[in-house]
């Protein structure tokens, strides 16, 4: 496979970016200066802050940089004078290492100026688990709320309590407890920024669109528990009092999806 990409890895580690680049016959150069002086479309780099700032300052329009790190980057907006400098979410080493197929998808996108040029506006489906611009604030808030609901179930519900405790992965329940399983709190998170509407379908599509934007994902993206969120919206939208609790089935399914999304791992208690 021939690509229009060159790479620079400050560590020169063949088990990290350099190795991935060799796998696709991407030329590895010796310095950032050499990369900047080249005419390649895409630059794959593992560099320190000074070099990255230099790339952002100097990379001309029509060329695109993607920065990798051993531990991956959190979601970040594009940088550079032409918003042409991106960060990869995936690790280059370890258990959560980027796969060869994912790296290939990135190299295909960054070889093509037309495709790479569109990344500032919309992330291609194939790249949506690799590059993201926004923090999923709303899903994080839902995760917080559902964790606390699980504590309430664990403490008060003999039927679902053991399962809730297992899902939480904790031994001792927090000493303080408040009633958080209220529709009003879920509404605050999910619906407050949406225009008031009694059209459930319209409301659903608006919220899904907003969450997709936060995540940079398609509605059917596996990492985003969109169907579970829609089920939750269906439940809370039907309640006009704002005080009824959400059901165990809905909460459990969404909680598991969000645990997975946020990479929460359960370790056996000592």
């Amino acid at each position: 496979m021939t690509t229009n990409i060159k790479a620079f890895d400050k560590s020169g580690d063949r088990n990290a970016l350099m190795g991935l680049a060799y796998g696709l016959q991407i030329t590895h150069v010796n310095s950032v200066q050499e990369l900047l002086g080249d005419a390649c479309v895409g630059l794959f780099v593992h560099v320190g802050e000074d070099d990255w700032n230099n790339i952002c300052r100097c990379l001309p329009e029509g060329r695109f940089a993607l920065r990798f790190s051993t531990d991956g980057y959190p979601p970040k907006r594009p940088e550079g004078r032409y918003f042409n400098c991106f960060h990869c979410l995936k690790h280059t080493k370890g258990d959560y290492r980027i796969s060869a197929a994912e790296f290939k998808a990135l190299s295909q996108a960054f070889s093509d100026p037309k495709v790479a040029g569109s990344l500032g506006n919309a992330i291609l489906p194939a790249l949506r688990s690799l590059i993201r611009f926004y923090e999923p604030h709303r899903l994080r808030a839902l995760h917080f709320l559902l964790q606390a609901c699980m504590v309430q179930w664990a403490a008060d519900d003999p039927k679902h309590g053991p399962c809730a405790l297992e899902l939480l992965g904790i031994v001792y329940l927090p000493p303080i407890r408040r009633d958080v399983n209220r529709v009003s709190l879920f509404k605050k998170i999910l619906m407050e920024s949406s225009a008031p509407s009694r059209d459930v379908e319209k409301l659903n599509s608006e919220i899904v669109e907003q969450i997709r934007n936060e995540l940079g994902v398609d509605a059917d993206f596996r990492g985003a528990p969109i169907p579970a969120i829609l089920k939750l919206i269906g439940e809370i939208d039907g309640d006009v009092t704002g005080s009824l609790p959400i059901t165990w089935e809905t909460a459990k399914s969404l909680f598991e999806g969000l645990d997975e999304l946020f990479g929460v791992r359960h370790t056996p208690s000592p």
């Binding site: 604030h137 992965g169 904790i170 927090p174």
Partner: protein, 169 residues
């Protein structure tokens, strides 16, 4: 918000200084000592890095102090979150997050391992600094031990996580 600042501080110490400067400097001296490469400034650069350690040790200690605080105390909620959810609900939400984090990340164990690794590197660099002061242009003893201690600390600090402290932000 504090978690975000902690993350930046951790990255500044562990990634920007410990891995990218100290370990690189130590490895370079190993190669110079073995005759693999020539660099007349390598030992002086290493001595400078060891001088910087006094300040960087403080940064690492602050990273671990924050972790210790999270292990010991409830999280004070963000003002914006309090305005949306109310203070009592926020405190509860934060406490559940903290309790899960304590178990999931084995926070106390990770914290004590990192403290031990920090103390170990401190001892190694102290001895290395003393050796370099006596023989500034000669390969000092304990270079490998310092590399080992620095690598262990870098690995230990890379593993650390703190609980999220923003709900909506």
């Amino acid at each position: 918000m504090m978690a975000e600042i902690w993350e930046k501080r951790r990255s500044y110490f562990n990634h920007a200084w410990l891995k990218n400067r100290l370990l690189v400097g130590l490895m370079k001296c190993t190669r110079v000592a073995s005759g693999e490469v020539e660099d007349a400034d390598a030992w002086r650069s290493l001595a400078n890095l060891i001088d910087e350690w006094g300040r960087m040790r403080g940064v690492a200690a602050a990273v671990l102090d924050f972790l210790q605080e999270r292990i010991a105390c409830e999280i004070i909620p963000d003002a914006n979150d309090v305005s949306v959810f109310g203070s009592e609900v926020c405190i509860f939400l934060m406490e559940v997050e903290r309790q899960r984090w304590l178990v999931r990340e084995q926070a106390e164990k990770q914290h004590s391992e990192s403290r031990a690794a920090l103390a170990s590197l401190d001892r190694e660099l102290d001895q290395l600094g003393a050796a370099l002061a006596l023989e500034p242009d000669a390969p000092p003893y304990r270079l490998q031990e310092s590399i080992g201690a620095a690598s262990r600390l870098a690995k230990s600090i890379s593993r650390l996580e703190v609980p999220r402290d923003i709900i909506l932000g």
